[in-house]
Symmetry: D3
Subunit: 273 residues, 6 copies
């Protein structure tokens, strides 16, 4: 590729991918609403509010591919989610359509299925059970990707990211861990595939205790190589085992299922009481 | 019920239901952003913008049930859909949560699955393939209903309305028609059920040529009684048969699948050319 | 048939069927552990404890068909269930094998799936979720029927009876009602079928609000004709609607899911406290 | 339609449809390899060997629709089946392609699934288990229809005909009967549908004891109206009930599963012994 | 754990696990109806008849986990199975309920599905087809585990053991072998899991020729490491290959499907002749 | 085995297997319609036209197993396919029946499912979508194998061969490659299995990018060992990546889906124009 855009490049995942995806394009264009490290060689750094349609339009111009990490990535007040994850995603897809439909990796989340029990095994066709406004916004983003694929042929890999961290650090991550290496190799596979379509891909390593079946995306030829089980002994030893009724071991979304709706009237009032 | 709220009561479906649901509650509260007929006996008429959280909070107070028709119901510019169908739905669910979780009938749409071919038979667990920004907004609304059910126990009947008109008037409606009587009897069943949960219900009559399988919602005991086939001879005679490649006979969403994205930059530019 | 055996003929269902199945055989043999009405014309009355292998052996001799209603039909102490529903069923199948394998209607129960939620639609291949020791004993009986079919060719219709009463009398029965007429016509169909095999048949009328899909047994050509919905208005009017969290409207087994284990140590001790 | 071609018009089904389909086109073109009644008004009678590519090419010219009943319709020697059902079907599809792809009703057969047990319920996606060379030839024909649909857009209704007779006359037909009226109404529906595609349709009436699920073809809006159960009392009374191990009540293909391969060497040798 | 109970500790599997599970608890309590080796360090040896409710109540007291191997483990007379596998299992679950619900590993068996053909691939939701009274008793035990889970929250791992031997020794075991190491690692995983629920786990190693799909229990993070294929060359060389119609290669239950019902009247009479 | 027949032994696959299967039988009988290398030790070379029933009858005599590669293996004129792949397969099965039913490996093809999109994952029960007359002829062959299994107990392994070449050489083969070693080990497994039945086996190596699920044939204990991914770097580097709309990356059958019908009138006429 000549130019690969990474949105949300100032966040945790964004910084990791900035350091790891340089080989994929002549130029990395890096955007965030927040401050980023200055541009290095073969980099362009662009401050951009995803809610600003004109700015997003400029941002996507001349890009051959997009890794869309931008937006809110945890539970927050509705207004923040609306701006970045609802309006922002619409802006991104409109911009992509105007600029020749560069292939998109859309960072969706396990939180679109967070209320499924951990005893359930899910495949790409499972029903959605979001666990947060954040999860609802990602369900919306997946629907938008589907729309632009069916209507305009825009290709997107919808990646439902589990827990993308250097190492798994709690019991739930034995199931949800997505190693940095595996995320990078997935992105490589997505941009290499001659035909992508609009698949749902579970963003998780080959964890012994995994919940998610990626068979439907097998045609991409991507095989995760890491396995949280290699870290299990450490976690079993160092991290207290949650009780059997804790949300963190009952629902796939873990602690998100225990969160309130942020900034809600009901909560505010309760706070005031 | 003491008070049943109908949002979008000034629209076509809203006016029909206003006239037909009086027996279900002591008082009908009727809201719309647009002008409505003045309140009759046992009616309250409230002008309300769904995007106004405070107004919606007041609107839902003291209601035992909600028929949520409000918002944009055809393809429109993103900004309109965001205000009414994204923010508006969030406001509604927050208001319901603050006011004791009155049961909700959520008017979703066949346009959440509009890109499925008409040769496909769909059940409640089918994947979504929205055909419009409108369809995406309804997918978002369904996700919101699911969230509030799993997190707070809020009950919603998600009704994917086909074509709710006095009579079927084209070839596609032989499959999608939802008679007024059948919609009314569905609403009655939803509010009568001792336990509702959060089911997806296909809003269609018992049409010989129907595409949708309502078995999963059978526990509600609702049985549509009308059948578009009773009107087939008239349509076959009076309405020209579409060609076999027309979108209106290939995709479940019909003409919506042929629509552009409204107000989009690409379109605007094309218009300017 | 020359001789049709009805076990449990002294119970409620047994008395009903005694009065309704006379046309199916030259002689009805009627058995129960309890007292029964004296034999009428073309009837034989036999007192028999199903736990007594020799007695059951004699009972089945010369019979061309069996309607097995005998045993405990509600939740009871384990010892009673063991004698009648575990040992008794073994005795029955051994006797049938010794006497030429007369076709059997086995009265199983909806309580083998009682912990499935009422929002679930079940077919013949669903997993079992018994709600009582009684339900466990019926799961055992179904397994025994399967064993004797696979090993010896014994044919059984496993009928998971819902609520077999003259009329539905509560909200749950709008889903589970099994009219007397429909039970009789099912028994006729079972004994008329040239090839029976070992099907699971949901014993329920054609209720609008039914939960169970009998498609897998469609080859029997049996069609229930009654529908609890014909009685819905009365029930809606006269029977208080249960709250949405009541076991009786959440689980298919209804009140059985709220029952303790009878005669259990834990319970006894609690009673003594 | 201007001209509807019926092949095999000299056979039993062909004569029936000749008498019943006159209203569907200005002209019926009727073909068979055997003698037929002379042409009546609005009829054309053509003797044609389906194995003759040139003749079939001429036959299909100027036709707007085809009801393809031609070929061998029972178990016969391989050579006969090859000529009529293998080569003949290829010739038909080539001719249709050369002449603008008139819609085709392809008379397939329940004998493509004849070795499925009668206790199985089959839908359009079931695996094939042919019971005869005839059944294999129909499996081939279905594959040919699929090929021409995918490659050229040729539309075909693949009708797996059960037992198309004036009335059901044996126990198996209580499940397989396809009334003349229902076949006619199906053909009407196929040619009326704006978009047909290439569906599998089970050619059977709405029999209480039916084995086949037509839900996947529901979009055609065809509803069979007859039911073999209306004739059940007569059959139960007049036709001896087959034993439970008879092929005619064990396998869906009935007596075909008991037939040898016609004209086979093995059989010939046995005959010579 | 402080104390882990192993029932059936005197049998073959029991002795193996006694030697292998010492690391899992401070104390192993070992019970059997038959004689056992005397207690070693950190062991308690208890003779206990599972049919004796009081004895079982005492047995389970103070245990934090149970590996329930006790009872009859091959086909036997009904009376023996009733006492140990029916009444005994009820006693065990009642005792567990009275003592705080220690987690249970329930040794079920492949013989609950023994009449499925070896060409079938089964998952945890497959239908049961027991091949023996023993198999029926294990189906009953699985139902009991389900009941106590749904009613009381008792957690059980239902392990359908294949062939747990030091090495595979016949052709069928190439599919069914369950190595001692893999059984031990499964027990470790069951007691380590923060949330267990009531899963069905196929007790088999990672055999190339396996029939059983453990995906539904993947959340446990258990991965068998052995593979009967490592022993295939020896078996192919040393063990005569069974004929294609032998029960031992047609049905998953192998030789059990060829066994009579033990002690049955029919058999006794045949013996006397 | 004493004698293993390989048909089509003069073709590419045939020559490879001739060199690799000598260990499986005392004698390899090698047949083709075309010239072959002269017989080596323990070989018999037979020229045979599969369309000649008598010749095929002689060919199969005294064989204990058959690897049927014979016939047309690419798209050709109908007449050639009819002779070799339709009549030839019938002749083969009749000959096998006359000679004691030697087990058959039937070389089917991925072209029976060639019009499925590459984004679909297929298992053994998927619907057929042939992409050529050749593919239709293989669908016919699979039906014939099924018939002879159900009617006569003839065992066949239906192997849907992907791309059996020394190495993968294009992008599509990253999904379809079937290494020579893996084909040989599959044939070994088929003839070693005590019970074969009539399974569909996808003939492909363990490719990271594979489309086909062989779980249903797992009971054979066959595990492919090669993986086209080992060759991916070379292909990515040396072979131009096809565009996203090319048939070769959209449909599983690849270039076959772009082929016309050979020798068809329509094509001939076009050629003449």
């Amino acid at each position: 590729m000549k130019r690969l855009l990474i949105t949300g490049a100032g966040g945790g995942l964004g910084r990791m991918l900035r350091a790891r995806l340089g080989h994929m394009a002549e130029t990395l264009r890096l955007s965030d609403i927040a401050a980023m490290e200055p541009a290095g060689p073969d980099e362009e750094v662009v401050t951009c509010d995803l809610a600003d349609a004109e700015a997003v339009h400029e941002l996507v111009a001349d890009c051959d591919g997009v890794v869309h990490l931008g937006g809110v990535s945890v539970e927050r007040e509705y207004e923040l989610i609306e701006a970045a994850n609802l309006r922002g995603v619409y802006n991104l897809y409109e911009a992509a359509r105007a600029h020749g439909r560069p292939r998109i990796v859309f960072a969706s989340s396990n939180h679109v299925v967070g209320y499924h029990p951990q005893t359930a095994r899910l495949d790409a066709g499972c029903s959605l059970r979001p666990d947060s406004l954040y999860g609802v916004s990602k369900a919306y983003g997946e629907a938008m990707a589907s729309l632009y694929h069916d209507k305009f042929g825009q290709e997107t890999a919808i990646v439902r990211i589990g827990s993308c961290t250097p190492e798994p650090v709690d019991w739930r991550m034995l199931s949800t861990w997505f190693s940095h290496d595996d995320f990078v190799s997935l992105i490589e596979a997505v941009f290499r595939a001659p035909h992508l379509g609009c698949p749902v891909v579970w963003g998780a390593s080959a964890n012994d205790a995994g919940w998610w079946d990626n068979a439907a995306a097998g045609y991409l030829g991507w095989q995760p190589r890491d396995n949280a089980a290699a870290h299990a002994a450490r976690i079993h030893r160092d991290v207290p085992r949650p009780g059997p009724r804790a949300a963190v071991v009952r629902f796939q979304g873990g602690a998100f299922t225990d969160e309130p709706i942020h900034g809600s009237r009901a909560q505010n009032r309760k706070d005031k009481t």
